[in-house]
């Protein structure tokens, strides 16, 4: 297989040319990915299929005779495509995907408990006249629920090889592995299944009868649990409780780890200052490297925990229930129940939120979700909101029993959430209108997920977050640091103390020139060049705004930058001498941060997940325009109210 098939150029991680290629096909929840993980271990490589929003997962399986490349084809109920995303699966099997040769053989993974439905998929696969093998999973669960199935008879009726696989115990994996070596020896069905869908129904019945198939009883525990969890009233109550516990865990469990990380980074910066000094190298290490990488690192515990909980809820089967409960509300926004999971993740960070849209079947719904996700109040906005709300509302202000700062924070969250819903609605009725793919969702029985699967799935997401976010934020941190620190002005600052020297360097830095250059743009919003500089820094990531303002005002008053911030006045221009962080300016800034797409990681992940620059460009444009207009309006309203 060639590197042209991959979105990112990492040919050394794909399968070398000339290896036998096996495609794993199966419905969602059939246990396909578990088999894939067992066959390939941790050596899987994920990327996007060219041009579409489908993740491709490929790995190597060690077989008795050597190695084969195994491709985990996205889960599907049907091999007839209804959307470009589904077409990828068909093209992949046809070998018409650029750079991806036709697989040498197909392994169809079928869940024994749903054989009546999934045999249709086997019929479609066998109709392709490629060597085909059937792997039957969930045999233990099938038997436990009173089902019956004669595997040798099933193999005879189908006319192809059948392997029973029980992934938890690894049973059948060795046999499957051994068979992967010699697909040319796999049996050809003497009578291939009919292509016509009505005749297929009759074919499925006859195969099931021949295999002495008795359907399992519905899972009694699942039914009983669903009676509560999907109850019109109690289902909603439990849902809210689960969501509450979800965020409590993310924020309370992650917080001490984040504090420890922050302290560790602070200690590291001190060590650098002590041992490397305050010179050029020391400043670069402590401000750009530790500060830049640190701003990403502190979010990792939260993101890892988020992925872990989502993988756990997904594995248990609760995510499908949450999607069922939320579908009515999501339908009002033009999205569907599956989009809810993505929106939920976006509360922590839009990057994992956008990555979570992969489960959405319809590509238009998926892109609308991706474009609306950055409006969800993510945790990177939190430090910005805390700082600005602190400037707007004195701490301790109370309106009756409620704390005013809390109300302001809550209002910002509501504004963000509502805006996300409205923009999804607008996108779905304009540029992303319509779509044939219906919303359907299997409600699998509740199952205890395997720890290994949960860890594996969350680790692959965390790794992606680290790689993408780490490189981009680190890059901008370095650039920003250089803009603030250069030119060095050694000659001019001779004889000044350190505080005055750094203030002088800052005011004459490239960054200051940049800030002053864009000052006219933001002048109507009441921002001066120092705030603009914060916004420029925050283009990479929102929380950088806080540290940039910190750096700027630390130059003014290194002892207490936050006090200096509160007392800041306009330095020049018609407003010179007036307080800078007046209510209208702060409100405009807050509203700006509600809407503006100030996060390069999000832009990068949008590009990655949609496969084109078109959608991130659209998101950047519409969110920036809305941010500017809304901030301007908010300033006017606040001015009218306060004067």
């Amino acid at each position: 297989m060639s590197a042209a098939c991959h979105d990112d150029p990492a040919p050394e991680r794909g399968a070398p040319t000339g290896l036998r290629r096996i495609a794993l096909i199966g419905s969602p929840n059939a246990g396909k990915t578990t088999i894939f993980n067992q066959l390939t271990g941790l050596r899987a490589h994920t990327a996007n299929y060219p041009g579409v929003t489908v993740t491709r997962s490929e790995g190597m399986a060690h077989t008795p005779a050597g190695r084969v490349a195994v491709e985990d084809v996205p889960g599907t109920y049907s091999l007839s495509a209804m959307s470009p995303d589904e077409q990828v699966v068909v093209d992949l099997l046809d070998g018409t995907l650029p750079g991806c040769p036709t697989p040498d053989a197909l392994v169809v993974v079928l869940d024994a408990t749903t054989l009546r439905r999934s045999l249709t998929l086997a019929a479609q696969a066998m109709a392709r006249h490629q060597p085909t093998l059937v792997a039957v999973t969930m045999l233990d669960e099938h038997a436990a629920r009173g089902g019956r199935l004669d595997l040798p008879a099933l193999a005879e009726a189908l006319g192809v090889g059948v392997v029973g696989v029980i992934p938890p115990s690894g049973e059948g994996i060795a046999e499957l592995r051994a068979r992967l070596d010699r697909p040319q020896d796999w049996a050809e069905p003497p009578f291939p299944p009919p292509a016509d869908s009505e005749e297929q129904t009759a074919w499925v019945r006859s195969v099931l009868a021949a295999a002495d198939y008795h359907a399992p009883r519905p899972d009694a525990t699942t039914r009983a649990v669903d009676d509560v969890l999907l109850h019109p009233l109690w289902g909603g109550v439990v849902f809210v409780a689960v969501m509450f516990a979800f965020f409590q865990t993310i924020f309370t469990v992650a917080a001490p780890i984040q504090d420890t990380l922050q302290r560790g980074l602070g200690w590291l910066a001190e060590q650098v200052a002590d041992h490397v000094g305050h010179g050029f190298v020391g400043a670069f290490l402590s401000e750009a490297v530790i500060g830049g990488v640190g701003s990403v690192l502190v979010f990792v515990p939260q993101v890892a925990l988020l992925f872990l909980l989502i993988a756990l809820l997904e594995g248990l089967g609760y995510m499908a229930r949450a999607a069922y409960l939320m579908d009515r509300i999501m339908a009002a926004t033009g999205l569907d129940g599956r989009a809810f999971v993505a929106m939920l993740s976006s509360f922590a960070c839009a990057v994992p939120g956008i990555m979570a849209t992969r489960t959405i079947g319809s590509s238009k719904t998926r892109i609308a979700t991706i474009l609306a996700a950055p409006l969800m109040p993510c945790s990177a906005r939190l430090p910005v909101y805390v700082l600005l709300v602190g400037l707007l509302v004195p701490s301790g202000t109370r309106w009756g029993p409620v704390q005013a700062q809390g109300v302001a924070m809550f209002a910002l969250y509501v504004l963000g959430g509502l805006s996300a819903m409205v923009s999804a609605r607008v996108l779905r009725s304009t540029v992303l209108r319509g779509e044939l793919v219906p919303f359907y969702l299997e409600m699998p029985p509740y199952r205890m997920p395997r720890l290994r699967s949960v860890l594996l799935s969350s680790w692959s997401s965390v790794r992606m977050f680290l790689r993408k976010a780490g490189t981009i934020i680190f890059g901008t941190a370095v650039v920003l640091w250089a803009l603030l620190a250069f030119p060095t002005r050694d000659a001019e600052t001779i004889g000044l103390d350190q505080a005055h020297a750094s203030a002088y360097v800052l005011e004459h830095s490239y960054a200051a020139q940049l800030g002053r250059a864009i000052e006219p743009v933001f002048e109507p919003l009441g921002f001066d060049w120092r705030i603009d500089l914060g916004l420029v820094g925050a283009v990479s990531a929102r929380e950088v705004f806080v540290s940039t303002l910190g750096q700027v005002w630390a130059a003014t008053d290194p002892e207490d930058p936050s006090a200096a911030l509160a007392e800041a006045t306009y330095l020049d221009g018609p407003r010179a001498g007036e307080p800078l962080f007046s209510a209208p300016t702060v409100v405009a800034l807050l509203v700006w941060f509600v809407y503006a797409l100030q996060c390069m990681s999000t832009v990068a992940v949008m590009r990655r997940e949609t496969g084109s620059w078109r959608w991130p460009a659209l998101a950047l444009t519409y969110l920036t325009l809305i941010a500017y207009a809304a901030a301007w309006l908010a300033r006017l309203i606040t001015l009218a109210v306060t004067t």
Binding site: S78, M82, S197, P216, A320, Y324, R328, P438
Partner: protein
């Protein structure tokens, strides 16, 4: 003519056909999901406010929206 979307929760019905007016690809998808003429389908539960419903078809539970369940034509309650 009864449509699956109109069947009360708890009822079991037999599928007679998929609405011939429906786009061929959507018809095929519903068939692949198990909505085949002759199969039995039970309405397990319905979400309030005309939300989606859970159906038991081909030995599994599937959540489908009203608008799509309306494409499935079913016989009288059994």
């Amino acid at each position: 003519m009864t449509r699956l979307a109109d069947v009360r929760s708890g009822a079991v019905v037999r599928i007679e056909a998929i609405d011939p007016e429906v786009a061929p690809l959507l018809r095929l998808r519903l068939t692949h999901l198990g909505f085949r003429p002759g199969e039995q389908v039970a309405v397990v539960r319905r979400a309030p406010f005309s939300g989606p419903a859970v159906y038991r078809i081909c030995d599994y539970d599937l959540c489908l929206r009203q608008e799509h369940a309306a494409h499935v034509i079913v016989g009288v309650e059994q």
